[in-house]
Amino acid sequence: MRIPLSYVIKRIGFLVAVLFTAATINFIIPKLAPRDPVTELINQKIASGGLTSEGAAEFGDSLRKLYGLDRPLWQQYLTYIWNMMRFDLGYSIVNYPQRVSFIINQTVYWTLGFVLTSTLLAFVIGTVVGALVGWSKTSKWLSWLMPPLAMFSAVPAFILALLLIYFLAFKAKAFPLRGGFSATIVVNWKDPKFLLDVVHHALLPGLSMLLVSVGGWSLGMRAMMVTVEGADYMTFADAKGLKGPRLFFRYALRNTLLPQITALAMQLGLIVSGATLVETMFSYPGIGNRLGGAIRALDYPVIYGIVFFMVVGIAVATLLVDLMYPLLDPRISYSGG
């Protein structure tokens, strides 16, 4: 099955629109807010003793020139968009002269590791469990799984994380309380001991993401399974005397996967938001925790930069899921609408 080019172009056009809107929001909001990053930076420098109040005005003007803040708004906007297109996200105020892109690069892989793993695992487990529970021919005890899974799905991951930390890390001492690796270990990605330590640290944050999303996927899957079981093609397949496994996998599951994958595309944003807070709870060295830190320190370029980066990531991932969809559904027509 081929993906029609016009569909790809249309979809990419939408991606550009999303990114453009996100960038514009990022540009406008600070301008609307009655606060001046330069003054704040100067105040910080004064407070930290790096600058005297006499030199402040002069320093401020030179800074404004450096950031282009003395130019007309539309010029600033164009420069800003141009910078965004090159992924030039500027400098951190607090950790000047660290570039925001450097901070992202430093933290993003930590996040990707545990978020991708837990999301995929949760998606697979949740889909299978939901499918089995929804399938009328499986035994009924399976449906007892649903209430606890549903409970977990209702609670935000970072709230569940608190409980996991307290019970599993603090009380049972089965997992580390915080961080991405032990303070006592030498960072060496080629050392299996270090890798094991990293995995050990990632397990609890991953588990809190996993527990929360498994319930959601299985609830959705169960509902779709019930709908599909009522479809005419299932009745006819049953009338053909097909064996149970074929009915389940080739007919029911195959048809429910499509909406499930749509749901995955829709959930990406929620997953990233959830991961941000989970990382904060665990002081995990990922991008979300870094965002939390920037918020506490009011380090605006880092906040805007990371948010923009996350939006790009989600938009691209959504695009990929959307492009995958037609490979699974032969019915899709891309003629528009």
């Binding site: 005419d232 093609y233 397949a237 074929r246 007919y251 048809n255 699974l328």
Partner: protein, 320 residues
């Protein structure tokens, strides 16, 4: 006279709802001779579709086969285990479904759908045999070989229905149950599909039960006709006799309400409304609307009896 391929005896299918038992099929008895086409007509709520589901043993809860026998080629389907019934389906008893546009798996190519039923009934086929089998089945229903590699949505409603017909004959069953197979199709296509089914029935010597509400279609296709009303069998006989000399007052009214070429502008309906299946009237279920009803009709249920050779009717007018 050949032996009956199917004998249905005192079949009862009830649906249990909060308010009580809905008697969707109540005490239905009939025989079907080998190699015949029988039509089963009835209005909505008559139980004709429930009959189809019951014969396939596909009654879903809260429905249940409450009693009776369905003997297909000497085997009582009611008594079979789920697995035995699964093996019976397609091999001895197949179905042509109603909703042509939704009866095929939308994400599977036609050839796979045509073959998988056979595979699950113990037929082993090499890749080449498979292709030949699919091509022959498609040819039998007048479809081009290229249809094998297509998806259902690429086919018109008539073509999809032909695929389901091909599916149903793939293991040459004894009996095919067609549940309003053309109700979603245009007249010309309807005629084509029905003629295809007719040809196959004759060629393969199958028996066929055609379920529907369209008396016109019945007049055109079946040799015997069974009329159901409110869950009960009213009358069975040769199609021609049923149209020309209906015995049961319900059949009489039904036939006279039909628009034919000769009676333009004559509009005769059956007054009254169908009774509730939850609380069917005492006695004959039709007595509330029957112009010929008398005391006895509201007191005792008429027996379904052979009034003339090959002609069965459930009416007190004919039991005496």
């Amino acid at each position: 006279m050949s032996e009956p391929i199917l004998q249905v005896k005192n079949l009862k299918v009830y649906y249990y709802v909060e308010a009580g038992a809905v008697k969707a099929v109540d005490d239905v008895t009939f025989d079907l001779d080998d190699g015949t086409k029988m039509g089963l007509v009835g209005e909505s709520g008559s139980g004709k579709s429930t009959m189809a589901q019951a014969l396939m043993r596909m009654i879903k809860p809260p429905g249940k086969i409450e009693g009776g026998e369905m003997i297909l080629d000497g085997v009582d389907l009611v008594k079979l285990s789920t697995e035995q019934m699964r093996q019976t389906k397609l091999r001895k008893l197949a179905m042509i479904p109603q909703g042509a546009m939704n009866a095929l798996n939308p994400v599977m190519r036609i050839d796979h759908q045509l073959v998988d039923g056979m595979l699950d009934h113990g037929v082993t086929l090499s890749k080449q045999e498979r292709e030949e089998r699919v091509a022959r089945l498609l040819e039998m229903v007048d479809l081009a070989p290229k249809v094998a590699k297509m998806y259902p949505h690429e086919l018109s409603g008539g073509m999809q229905q032909r695929v389901t017909v091909a599916q149903s004959i793939s293991m040459e069953p004894d009996l095919i149950i067609a549940d309003e197979p053309t109700s979603a199709l245009d007249v010309v296509i309807q005629r084509q599909v029905m003629e295809t089914i007719n040809n196959l029935q004759e060629r393969l010597g199958l028996s066929l039960i055609l379920i529907g509400h369209d008396m016109g279609l019945m007049a055109q296709t079946v040799s015997r006709l069974a009329v159901m009303y409110a869950g009960r069998m009213m009358e069975i006989g040769a199609t021609y006799d049923m149209f020309r000399d209906p015995l049961h007052p319900y059949t009489q009214l039904l036939i006279s309400s039909l628009p034919v070429l000769a009676n333009k502008g004559v509009f005769a309906g059956i007054p009254g409304i169908t009774p509730s299946l939850l609380n069917p009237p005492e006695g004959c279920v039709f007595h509330t609307r029957c112009p010929k009803a008398w005391d006895l009709c509201s007191q005792s249920t008429p027996k379904f009896t052979e009034a003339q050779p090959g002609r069965w009717v459930a009416c007190h007018l004919h039991t005496a």
